[in-house]
Amino acid sequence: MHRLLNIRPTGGTRWLLGAAPLIVVLLVYLAASTARHAVNPTDKLLPTFGAMVEQVHVMAFQTDPQTGTIPLWQDTLASLRRLGVGLAIATATTLILGLVIGVLPLARAGLGPLIAGIAVIPPIAVLPILFITFGLGETSKIVLIVVGVTPFMIRDLAAHIGAIPEEQIVKAQTLGASTWQIALRVALPQALPRLLHSLRLSLGPAWVFLISAEAIASDVGLGYRVFLVRRYLAMDIILPYVAWIALLAVAFDLALDALSRRAFPWAHPGRAR
């Protein structure tokens, strides 16, 4: 008999184990929803799947006569643009500052404390400052995402570069490499997979900042819609929206992971076997 910790699920068993809790959650919801509707057919808290499908149909496939657009796509597009621009700026900033701080002790001494200081400020606390400075438009929402995730990403990347074995850096110097060449050919390539990794980890916080900013001041976006329909207790819209956000987040995570494995096979030796 194997010890419990030595039993490893493979293939179909693994999928089944992963799917089982999801199915249980759905069944529990179904039972609870049916029970509530038996007592009160107009119950709004736990809408039936039928009602949700109906609302998805309205939100995702019908043009809103007031705005002339399809709400779900309009919201998704607006949110993804904010998220994309914010994360692109954050990633570019991280790459440059993380590389400089990681490679040059002078830059680490100069910029390290500043970035460590910014990193401990809760980003939502500076949201009012951003609204005052940048207005209620797109800029403040994008800046919130940038301010929220960049310091963490810079510190992570700089630490990763700083942890490159000294032997490698000395070896590069004995091969005649300059500071610039070491940054470009030793530090940068080894930083890129880590950058993708920390971008993956930052997706979660980035969504939090996006939804927060949209909830407070916006007229379009996934977060805006969810907080808007909350006023009508429209759980049949909120729940599909949340599921949609989760689906997008999972898709980005998987895509970034696949990109990293494809672009940097040397950084994922475990899967080669």
Binding site: P165, E167, Q168, V170, K171, A172, Q173, T174, L175, G176, A177, S178, W180, Q181, L184, R185, V186, P189, Q190, F264, P265, W266, A267, P269, A272
Partner: protein, 259 residues
């Protein structure tokens, strides 16, 4: 033979701790110098000095009669026990790295005819260390011995004045180590290298070296052990005869300092 490396009255001190004291040394071109000594006897510090990772607190070091700049440079190649190759480059890219840096200041990467030329040169170098068939393989997929072969090829392609080996075979299996001994001896003869090898394996030191330096403390103060530094206590120029007999006091050093 002419002098390639000279230590003149070199001291290394950290605060009031003296690591090396009064090291005087002259290394001839073409020598294979083995450096042995117990742990903490300044072998690594000695290597860091030659490598330029640090400078002496007092005294001077000269390479080819010019003062040695305390910074690693391409006149001194190195192979460490681990982490000597770049994990993100495959074998041939690792060997070309030095040529890339030399030929392209800005991009750090050769292109066109120069790159093809460099690839030919690197392929030949890989062949001479026995890695001719592994050009496209990443270091993570190479065994420990093969990684060390790669590290040697990577250093040799730059034709360094001195090749520094820091416990290069310490992490290898005995059989592989034996192969590596043959390889490094052959390369040393073929390229007329000057080699300085730090090792804790006394037999290896005497087998490979044309000269064995033993570092240890000459004096010992039990109340303040850090106040006396190490220096070269034995200096054996080896001919074939003395190679067969390891002096007892040096053999004892090896016992005292296992891996």
């Amino acid at each position: 033979m002419s002098e390639i490396l000279a230590f003149r009255d070199v001291w290394v001190e950290y605060g009031d701790k003296i690591v090396l004291e009064k090291v005087n040394l002259s290394v001839a071109e073409g020598a294979f110098v083995s450096v042995v000594g117990p742990s903490g006897a300044g072998k690594s510090t000695f290597l860091r000095l030659v490598l330029g990772q640090e400078g002496p607190s007092r005294g001077s070091i000269a390479l080819d009669s010019a003062p040695l700049r305390p910074e690693p440079g391409r006149d001194r190649g190195v192979v460490f026990q681990r982490y000597s190759v770049f994990p993100h480059l495959n074998a041939i890219e690792n060997v070309i790295f030095g040529l890339d840096c030399e030929g392209s200041m800005l991009r750090g990467r050769l292109s066109g005819a120069k790159r093809r030329e460099a690839i030919d040169q690197a392929q030949a170098m890989l062949g001479s260390v026995g890695l001719g068939a592994a050009a496209k393989v990443y270091p993570a997929q190479l065994s420990g011995g093969m990684q060390q072969r790669l590290a040697i090829a990577q250093a040799l392609i730059m034709r360094p004045r001195i090749l520094l080996l820091d416990e290069p075979f310490g992490a290898l299996d005995p059989g592989v180590r034996l192969d590596m001994h043959g390889l490094i001896t052959a390369l040393w003869r073929e390229h007329r290298l000057t080699v300085i090898m730090v090792t804790h394996d006394i037999k290896e030191a005497f087998k490979l070296g044309t000269r064995v330096l033993a570092f240890d403390k000459r004096r010992h103060d039990p109340q303040a052990p850090h106040r006396f530094g190490s220096t070269v206590v034995y200096d054996f120029p080896l001919d074939e005869k003395s190679k067969r007999v390891v002096p007892a006091e040096v053999a004892a050093m090896g016992e005292a300092a296992p891996a």
